[in-house]
Symmetry: C2
Subunit: 257 residues, 2 copies
């Protein structure tokens, strides 16, 4: 089976499966991006979370690692108020932790170049921890990830370690992060749409050129190698100036022009 | 210039440059990994941080995003005690935030397959947010990243929002995370060493085989495509069971056997 047909088979299988997440459906704020990608021949999404505020009650091992089966006291994809958290905290018997977890998306891509296109859009939209995985049987995945989180221990062995006033302060920050996260998803959607449009124009041009000249095909292949250089630096590496010689390209997707 | 020679030139240039980080040198806990990688023909590191506890004084914009030029009140790559943080907090006039930032490493790789090998080792060692970037002029980078952080707002417009007792509690957790982070770096070093040894054995076998038969070369090329499938799931996606059909392979690096 050729690569394209095999990818099509994977896509049909994956999109045909039941959604096994706790929620059982795609989060509202992620739906447009998920639908846009799944409408393209060269992509399909395998998991997503639009971003959420989460209150966990986690026993920790001696190493400080959360044990697998921690209890979820609260989860919301919407801004959160103090009273909800205070009520949920009544159920905490171990170590409650409040987290803001930003948008995350896994996308399987037909080719490495498709993954690069998506990666550039993700990084340019603020999802700077995104990265490609090339796996078994050539499966090429892009994970879209942000650096934009929050992880705050609130209680120790059932005892609340902070004041209500602090929780209110913390939720203001968490809600602001959620708002910014939504803007980034919106930016990512717009970036993707532009990329798809340019790709459509570019491939219709290439088809015409291929008919006219074999030399053009050769030139196109060379240009495919000149992908753009999305930055992979993290928040905590901003100060390592010139560290990896990579920078976000202002002229996104111009390799497809 | 062929790819191998070009990579060698990049490597010489990069390793010859001055270290422009604030610290000006590689962190102690990252040195062995950095040296091991730079001793291999197919890799060189471009930036690293072994992991640190950081106290920032950050003005935030309305969107909750930290402004670029926030002030560092404290940074340490060693376990941290309450008195140090309390003393540093006296300098806070805006919004102080305590962070634990885990190990991060950027490695430029000669080929995509080299990046995959490194990626597998990173994921198997606990650095599950690692990912590949393919950039301008075919530059292939691996970013080694962990999910294992902490980000805790402590003060608001100069006013401390938590108790000393809470800061002590928080530092216990931050120090545990730093300890666990060190173990992961150690595990990564061991994983890398094994991979290098296997690769050395495998390439000496391949050379012999290549001399004996062209068919073997063809077979090797086929096997190179069968890379392993590191998991890219994040902490916050553990519950999306079967989400992307990827799992950490127990038989790491066997593609090089």
């Amino acid at each position: 089976m050729d690569r394209r047909a095999e990818f099509g088979r994977w896509k049909a299988q994956s999109l045909g499966k039941a959604d096994l997440s706790r929620k059982g459906s795609v989060d509202e704020d992620a739906v447009r991006v998920v639908q846009l990608l799944n409408a393209q021949e060269e992509f399909f999404t395998t998991s997503s979370c639009a971003g959420r505020i989460l209150l966990l009650d986690a026993s920790t091992s001696d190493s400080g690692i959360q044990k697998q089966h921690c209890c979820w006291l609260l989860v919301t994809h919407k801004p959160c108020v103090k009273d909800d958290v205070m009520a949920a905290l009544k159920g905490a018997t171990s170590n409650a932790v409040l987290k803001f977890e930003p948008f995350i998306l896994h996308v399987q891509c037909q080719t490495l170049q498709d993954a690069q296109t998506l990666h550039s859009a993700a990084v340019a939209s603020g999802f700077r921890n995104s990265g490609i995985t090339v796996g078994k049987r050539g499966k090429t995945m892009l994970a879209v990830r942000s650096t934009h989180g929050l992880e705050v221990p609130l209680s120790h062995q059932g005892k609340l370690m902070v004041t209500e006033e602090y929780i209110e302060f913390l939720l203001t920050i968490a809600n602001q992060k959620m708002e910014e996260n939504k803007k980034r998803i919106e930016r990512f959607y717009n970036c993707l749409q532009q990329a798809m449009e340019r790709k459509a124009i570019s491939s219709s041009h290439s088809e015409t050129k291929e008919k006219n000249s074999l030399l053009c095909t050769h030139k196109n292949k060379r240009n495919q190698g000149k992908a753009h250089d999305p930055s992979i630096t993290e928040d905590h590496e901003k100060e390592l100036e010139g560290a990896d010689g990579l920078g976000i390209s202002a002229a996104l997707f111009s390799e497809e022009d």
